[in-house]
Amino acid sequence: MKENLYNYILQIADNSLILGQRMGELCGHGPSLETDIACTNISLDLFGQVRSYYQYAAKIAADGRTEDDIAMLRKERDYLNILLVEQPNTDFGYTMARQFLFDVYHLLFLKELEKSKDLILSAIATKSIKEVTYHQRFSSDWIKRLGDGTEESHERIQNAINDLWTYTDELFRLSEVDEEMLEEGVAVDISKLKNGYYQKVSDVLEEATLTVPESKYFQKGGKQGIHTEHMGYLLADLQYMQRAYPNMEW
């Protein structure tokens, strides 16, 4: 099995799976009927992308596991998503801040992945770009609306941005897998996305009358399988049915 390619696919797919799970948690709990549907739509878009990635990963692994096994039955240390996407829905401000900080990265990333030598990854990127363009529009509008809204909404979205800022640097840190796949012309050189990312994020934050955090203290580890304390609870939720009723289908 091409282990580097397999892990590279998981690095990408796990971000969408875990963020999709977080947005899916809001199903029936969104702040209004309209935002509830919007958040679950984003979740469904991400799960759709995830299926293509895991189907590809299952083919590469060629060990009898299906896309569902890969998505549902790994242990915490085997998930390679970045720490940002596993952070909880503390309030709607956190939910939108997390989404926004990821969407800007996600769109830049997919536009580069489209140029990958790996034609399957390139095709998934092309298909996902339209969806993610809308995600970024949706979350950016909310950042502006909350930032330039009431005193309370301004304070709460600023707090969320400040708290989640510490997870942004990890987006651009190359793992060993990234470096190996970069040499083969498959991977995106994420370190090169950094300037464009912080520029776009700063533009939106400024328009939202928010302050760009200056903190230089950053957390990392997700891509090596070292997660924050929230990850275990999230996986317990995500995996409950498959763990309680192995191989169940509907």
Partner: protein, 95 residues
Amino acid sequence: MATKNWPLWEVFVRSKNGLEHRHFGSLHAADAEMALENARDVYTRRNEGVSIWVVESKYITASNPEHNGELFEPAQDKVYRHPTFYDLPDEVKHM
């Protein structure tokens, strides 16, 4: 703030080119941009439309149902106002 509810908006969707926008329903939103995005998520996520209009409900002036008699009934006995005496070619759609 007078109310905690967002204002109500009416949503009109053109389901394909060549057809007119039709009233699809209503939703709540804080501003026009949000109304458009909410309309997209609530009403067009199964490929129902190619264009959306939103208008805040308070800007719609509606006829009073109590006046239906004077407004609409006089038209009922004037068949000559309806184009029912012409054969419509099959090629003309959406009439």
